[in-house]
């Protein structure tokens, strides 16, 4: 049985079931606050900027980016991996905690999964726009054709990416949506009471005619279990596959067996970072302290401490192997072009943000100081971006033949595009704030009895 003493209480303010429905449905039913409009317009502008950058890229050519013959992948792929990493948190979060029967997931997984969806969407854009001839992008699908038929190279990690990421998007989307159905039903019923036809119509449509029948609940639970059980290995495989984009190639600094686990952990790390950022915002902006309690933050903090230790170890291992392997190319990449050399700053930003700063979470005080946690979570996001920057850029700029070494710096088009995807992400998230119940009400109700010290209050007053 759940022990409140250890984890602390997950829902405060001695809620009643009805109260929970009330709280969670409110943002959907009321007009959004002023800050929401401001945020929305800002992120829309960013999004438009991104669209413009994409237009330029497609009409003029990839040459508008800062790439060259030696560094053929730049920000495009860095951001792709970064976003995918973030995209991992959501599902990883809800799934692993679901499997581990961690009850405190309930008030976070909805938001985390929403984040996943938008992050993966943003991520998916990069490899697409990154193509030289995007108008032939459909070549990448193995469809029957009259060229022989000419199929694909199924050994190519890029094709693995396509399969894995589309599957991942599909699975997490369904997982997310299935989770929302009962809450839609709640909103539908409430709408019926208040008599707002439109909302009733829409959410009625979306709730798939949900009635809390126990039979349905049984199957529903089973389905959730299956999805979870399948999504767990998927999450791991997807980022392993992304890592194989690098690991299966011959470039020094890429061609290592440590990459899959290292990337998966990294992904979860960045993901949790972003979850923190997001949850703290929700908590603050929507006054949800009672659902996202200090103890939630605390729990995430503990996990991050551990993961950041793993990250640190991974970095150390890489560097050690680079020396121990005796491969002069590996050695050069790590010692002359990461630890020292033109890109040392990126390397040290990475180390500091990922391996050192999170160590502050050892202290209870830090873990429970929301502002601090927020700042650190931002640092983690930055650090993880730089990790990808270090991996991609340093290996490509100086690889095997010094004659071909070339430096790399992004063009403003690339930067615009990146900001654009951030805009896309924010628009998505804000939309989520407005139109979708931010917590899995039914699940919270489910754990209410077992996770609060006081007995559940059944009478509303």
């Amino acid at each position: 049985m759940y022990d409140v003493k250890v984890r602390g209480s997950l829902i405060e303010g001695n809620k009643s079931y009805h109260q929970i429905s009330e709280d969670i449905s409110k943002p959907v039913e009321n007009k959004p606050p002023k800050w929401w409009y401001i945020a929305m317009s800002i992120s829309t502008i960013m999004l438009l900027g991104g669209i413009w950058a994409v237009y330029i890229t497609i009409s003029e050519g990839i040459g508008t980016w800062g790439l060259n013959n030696s560094v053929a992948w730049g920000w495009g792929i860095i951001n792709f991996v970064w976003w995918i990493g973030i995209g991992h948190a959501g599902t990883a979060f809800s799934i692993f905690l679901l499997i581990l029967r961690q009850k405190w997931r309930t008030s976070i997984n909805r938001a985390a999964e929403a984040m996943t969806i938008f992050a993966v969407l943003a991520a998916g854009l990069f490899p697409m726009i990154h193509m030289g001839r995007i108008w032939f992008a459909f070549y990448i699908f193995p469809y029957p054709n009259t060229r022989g038929p000419l199929w694909l190279n199924f050994n190519s990690p890029l094709f693995w990416d396509v399969v894995a990421i589309s599957t991942y998007l599909m699975v997490s989307a369904t997982f997310w949506y299935v989770g929302m159905i009962p809450d839609f039903a709640t909103i539908r019923d409430r709408a019926k009471k208040t008599g707002s036809k439109i909302r009733e119509g829409i959410y009625g449509m979306m709730s798939f005619g949900w009635d809390g029948s126990t039979r349905t609940w049984l199957r529903y639970e089973t389905l959730a279990a299956i999805l979870g059980g399948l999504a767990a290995p998927l999450v791991i495989s997807v980022h392993s596959i992304v890592s194989m984009d690098f690991a299966t190639s011959v470039m020094p600094g890429w061609h290592t067996t440590i990459f899959p686990p290292y990337f998966v952990i990294g992904a979860i790390f960045s993901g949790f970072g972003m979850v923190l950022t997001l949850m703290i915002i929700i908590r603050k902006m929507y006054k949800f302290q009672e659902y996202v309690t200090k103890d939630h933050i605390n729990a995430i903090g503990r996990i991050l401490t551990f993961i950041s230790l793993i990250m640190g170890t991974a970095y150390m291992t890489e560097i050690f192997i680079a020396w121990y392997s005796g491969s002069e190319y590996e050695f050069y990449t790590f010692f002359m072009n990461r630890i020292t050399g033109d890109y040392y700053w990126a390397f040290y930003i990475m180390i500091t943000c990922n391996a050192i700063i999170p160590q502050l979470f050892w202290f209870e005080k830090v873990r429970t100081n929301i502002t601090l946690v927020f700042i650190i979570s931002i640092f983690i996001n930055i650090g993880m971006w730089f990790e990808r920057y270090v991996i991609v850029v340093t290996s490509l700029t100086k690889d095997y033949l010094p004659s071909a070494w070339a430096d790399y710096s992004p063009s403003y088009i690339e930067i615009m595009f990146y900001l654009g995807t951030i805009g896309l992400f924010l628009v998505g998230v804000l939309g989520f704030f407005k139109f979708i119940p931010m917590f899995a009400a039914s699940e919270i109700k489910g754990i209410l009895r077992s996770t609060s010290e006081k007995p559940v209050r059944l009478e509303d007053n």
């Binding site: 060259n68 013959n69 193509m131 030289g132 001839r133 690889d399 010094p402 070339a406």
Partner: protein, 984 residues
């Protein structure tokens, strides 16, 4: 395409004025229908042959209409789709090369070396390879003009002849201001002209002059000749500032000879030893076994020193004035030991130095052995003194008519301002420049000459060695070849073609006895392109009287910073400034393109705090960016000539600065170095277009080298890593096997001089686009074949290693694995294929290629105003090779080992129902190589040269430890160098 053909149909109208039926372009006439008419491959309308004009409406879903325009009358020798080859001759007043012109549907698209020539033996240079693009140069004059307004040929002729006659009557001076002419018939024509107008005089003017050598030989032998050097006979080559592999006199010939002596066969390994004294790092210097940086002004003293050392040995009188900047004792000993098997050359245009060099060679009695004075070269005939005199007379108003043939003094004469003022005083000035240049802008008349691919011509590059040039295309524009103009001036009715034939009939046909009638002799020499006769030996007496004075007058102890003005590989003396291929050809040593720069030594840069690209002003004349050139002698700087053209055209205008302005013209001979140069750092930094930014091998064994005696001891010395890799090569998968052919290539790093002819040849063959300075700076150069150049260290006087790198066609290609759409699979013949139309441009393959040989079309380089160098204008598009696809934006491309040539060769064999011969298929790079450094063939053929090369202990593969199993091998570089440098 369609537009282009149309434009030529329009052209047809203008060309009707050409009355000569031989060149008639007005379709055909009745008797041609019956087949009795004259056929001529030069008939342009016919050339327009089966050019499938695409009037495609691809955008709409309508069936695009493709027009197929057949010949009106198909000439017998042309089959649409099959290339014709015509032997011809390339000579631009500077370089000579006997070439074979490859034409498709009547368009010359590629030049190849003519193996039959005894002089060039099938070798070419970058400039020769690129010259085909000049034919389609948009800067060419399209009509004769008078004061920049078009004029009819007839009128021009009438006016000019009238003026000439009046001038001749007055007995005023007429000058033919010409570059070196090696065409005997043209010389005859000049003679005829002088006969007609006795007051006429021909002056030979070389922008890059060898006048001093001629003068020196005058002094030493009483003959103003240019001896032919035999680097293939010399075992010890000592060169003072002579870039004989790059630009000096006859680079192709010398490269052939040199590399033949540098190649190693396992039985009795031996190679020549090469010592180079020079101030700036030239291509030749970079290949030397010993390279000693010296100031230009020290050269004289050094020569005297060397002479004295040798004189002492032979008991001759010692000269005064020697001083040992460098200790040359052991060099002298070695030379003495190699008496008659050594060769000392000097590239400095100073008669005293040259005289002493002659004396040294005389002491070593190299004459008749390694120096052939019997059948001298005729490639440089310029006489600096005469030229100076003429310019003087021009200013004095003594010259009333002047004709410029193949020269551009307004740009490259040292005191160009003085020249221009002089020119303005001349009443009748005519320029025959075929393309825009500075001089023709100033002359009264401009009577554009044909491109050499449109003209008849003959040449005698070396006494007794003749070659013919024939037109391979009808004049593109309303131009007329110079000789025809002169024939008009002397009132002759014949065309130069007949004149030429008559000349050969009388002069040259008589020299031979093999063929009984002239027609067959003519056809034969036309077919071969060359004709050689033995010429009787003459006696030469060396006259050493002047030596003492020479020693006295030798320039020594120059002061301050000394500036060397040198010729670079691509642009040369500036004639080709408007050739985008050459502009984008990275300099073999500095790897800079699209610019000239001030090369400074490492120490100088350190003390003056100069960085790469910092702008400095040179003598206050102009500003140039700085390049730190390892191997540059201290207290010296260098600038390449040929840049800073102002009226060259789209590509050539205002690229770099004109270094000719600095040449010292005070002496009898142009001095290509000057002392006391003022160099001030000015504000600003100009990015140089470098194709290689890291210059050392970082201790990786990329280019593997050994020394000769090491090699003799152990053939695989320096190549141990190969053995190691072979032993430790293991794989999960079965080794790929090839049932049919398995193409492979090997490159002998010892033979390769890095002259970069292959780079341009590849560009011409494979329609590689030119992308311009900006994109080169962005490190996006498109060359399929690049030549990596590594210094042993960045400071002081490093050793230099050249390594041509193209796609290695790995059997375990990393690029193939990662392409999601399988756009680059492996062929059954071991080629790494690239299907452009399948590529979606993920660029994963580029990332994963450890050799970085894959190129991406970052922009649309075709039909794009922004890249209007080669593939934008209809005219310049005519040079494209129809067998190779022009790549679109967003696809990756790379070396294909000239798969189109492979397929062609295979098909030829099949058609003739025979097996493929080894060496029958020649990729463009191999064909163009003057050093024969590249070997190509079938690795499954156990007899083939490539297999032999692979069995050679020197053979290794680039980055073989990655187990990519490349199909390109490299043979280790062997330097003929002792452990302890025998020169201080």
């Amino acid at each position: 395409m369609k537009k282009y053909w149309r434009s030529l149909n329009e052209l047809q109208g203008d060309l009707k004025v050409d009355s000569d039926p031989e060149f008639s372009i007005t379709g055909i006439n009745e008797d041609e229908v019956k087949g009795t008419g004259k056929t001529n491959r030069r008939d342009f309308l016919k050339m327009l042959g089966f050019g499938v004009g695409y009037a495609t409406l691809a955008a709409s879903c309508e069936t695009p209409v493709h027009k197929a325009i057949p010949f009106l009358i198909k000439p017998d020798e042309i089959t649409p789709g099959i290339a014709n080859h015509y032997a011809s001759t390339f000579f631009d007043g500077n370089d000579y090369c006997s070439v074979v012109v490859k034409t498709r549907e009547g368009r010359p698209i590629k030049l190849e070396g003519n193996k039959l020539s005894g002089l060039t033996q099938g070798g070419t240079t970058a400039r020769v390879q690129a010259s085909v693009l000049n034919l389609y140069d948009s800067a060419r004059y399209e009509n004769p003009t008078k004061r920049a307004t078009d004029i009819k040929w007839e009128d021009a002729d009438k006016e000019i002849i009238a003026e000439l006659q009046s001038i001749a009557e007055k007995g005023e001076k007429i000058v033919i201001f010409s570059s070196t002419v090696i065409s005997p018939s043209t010389k005859k024509l000049f003679a005829d002209f002088i006969e007609k107008y006795p007051s006429a005089q021909v002056v030979y003017y070389d922008a890059v002059s060898a006048s001093a050598i001629l003068d020196a030989n005058q002094k030493s032998f009483g003959k103003r000749i240019l001896a032919d050097y035999r680097f293939d006979k010399a075992e010890l080559i000592v060169s003072f500032n002579a870039d004989f592999l790059g630009n000096w006199i006859s680079p192709i010939e010398f490269t052939k000879q040199y590399s033949s002596k540098r190649k190693l066969e396992k039985t009795n390994p031996g190679m020549s030893k090469h010592v180079q004294f020079e101030s700036t790092m030239t291509l030749t210097g970079s290949n030397a076994d010993y390279r000693i940086p010296v100031k230009p002004s020290d050269e004289g003293a050094l020569l005297i020193e060397l002479y004295n050392k040798l004189a002492a040995k032979s008991g001759k009188t010692i000269l005064s004035g020697g001083n040992a900047i460098v200790n040359v004792d052991s060099l002298a000993d070695e030379l003495w030991a190699k008496k008659g098997k050594s060769l000392v050359v000097c590239g400095t245009n100073d008669v005293n130095n040259q005289y002493i060099v002659n004396a040294i060679n005389q002491l070593l009695d190299n004459y008749g052995k390694t120096i052939d004075v019997n059948s001298p070269l005729l490639l440089k005939q310029g006489n600096d003194e005469e030229v100076k005199a003429i310019v003087g007379e021009m200013n004095a108003g003594k010259v009333s008519a002047i004709f410029f043939y193949n020269v551009n003094p307004a740009y490259d004469y040292p005191e160009m301002d003085e020249f221009v003022t002089g020119l303005n005083k001349v009443g009748l000035s005519v320029s025959f420049a075929s393309a825009k240049d500075e001089t023709s802008k100033l002359t009264k008349y401009s009577l554009p000459d044909n491109n050499y691919l449109e003209s008849w011509n003959d040449a005698e590059p070396k006494v007794g060695l003749y070659s013919l040039g024939q037109p391979t295309i009808q004049e593109l524009f309303n131009t007329r070849q110079v000789q025809d103009s002169f024939l008009k001036f002397i009132g002759a009715e014949t065309s130069y073609y007949t004149y030429l034939q008559k000349f050969w009939e009388t002069e040259i046909y008589t020299k031979q006895s093999g063929l009984i009638d002239f027609t067959s002799f003519w056809n034969n020499s036309l077919h071969n392109g060359v004709f050689e006769t033995a010429n009787e030996a003459a006696t030469f007496e060396f006259n050493s009287d002047g030596l003492a004075d020479a020693a006295k007058n030798v320039i020594s102890a120059g002061s301050g910073i000394e500036l060397q003005i040198y010729e670079n590989i691509g642009i040369g003396n500036g004639t080709y400034a408007n050739n985008p291929w050459l502009q984008e050809l990275p300099d073999p040593v500095s790897k800079v393109c699209w610019d000239n720069y001030l090369a400074v030594s490492y120490n100088y840069a350190k003390e003056k705090g100069l960085e790469l690209g910092d702008l400095v002003s040179v003598n206050g004349k102009f500003e140039l960016p700085v390049l730190i050139q390892p191997g540059q002698a201290d207290e010296t700087v260098a600038i390449a000539m040929g840049y800073g053209r102002t009226n060259a055209g789209l590509a050539g205008d205002n690229v770099g600065q004109n270094a000719f302005a600095l040449i010292n013209n005070s002496g009898n001979n142009k001095g290509y170095f000057i002392s006391d140069v003022k160099i001030e750092k000015v504000a600003g930094n100009q990015k140089l277009a470098l194709t290689q930014e890291y210059h050392t091998m970082q201790g990786r064994n990329i280019v593997r080298e050994t020394s000769l005696d090491e090699y003799v001891k152990n053939p695989s010395s320096g190549n141990e890593a190969h053995l190691h890799a072979e032993e430790h090569s293991t794989t999960l998968y079965p080794k790929p096997e090839f049932k049919g052919h398995h193409w492979g290539m090997a490159i002998d790093l010892n033979a390769c001089t890095g002259c970069s002819a292959c780079v341009i040849a590849c560009q011409a063959e494979n329609n590689v686009p030119v992308i311009g300075k900006e994109e080169v700076i962005n490190r996006r150069i498109m060359h399929w074949m690049r030549i990596d150049r590594y210094y042993s260290d960045m400071a002081g006087n490093p050793e230099v290693f050249n390594m041509p790198v193209m796609c290695q066609h790995c059997d375990n290609a990393p690029c193939e694995n990662v392409c999601p759409v399988a756009a680059t699979p492996h062929s059954d013949e071991g080629l790494n294929q690239m299907a452009y139309n399948r590529c979606i441009g993920t660029r994963y393959c580029m990332n994963n290629c450890p050799y970085r040989v894959r190129r991406f079309n970052w922009f649309q380089f075709t039909n794009n105003e922004k890249y209007s160098f080669t593939d934008n204008l209809d005219l310049s598009k005519m040079v494209l090779n129809p067998d190779v696809l022009v790549r679109t934006r967003g696809v990756v491309e790379k070396c294909t080992l000239c798969v189109q040539r492979i397929q062609e060769g295979k098909l030829k064999a099949k058609k003739e129902n025979r097996a493929l011969k080894d060496g029958e298929i020649q990729p463009a790079c191999l064909q163009s190589c003057a050093a024969d450094a590249i070997i190509f063939g079938d690795l499954n053929d156990k007899e083939s040269n490539i297999t032999k090369a692979y069995d050679n202990e020197r053979n290794y593969h680039l980055l073989e430890e990655l187990h990519t199993l490349p199909s390109v091998g490299y043979l280790t570089k062997v330097k003929n160098k002792d452990k302890d440098d025998f020169i201080a």
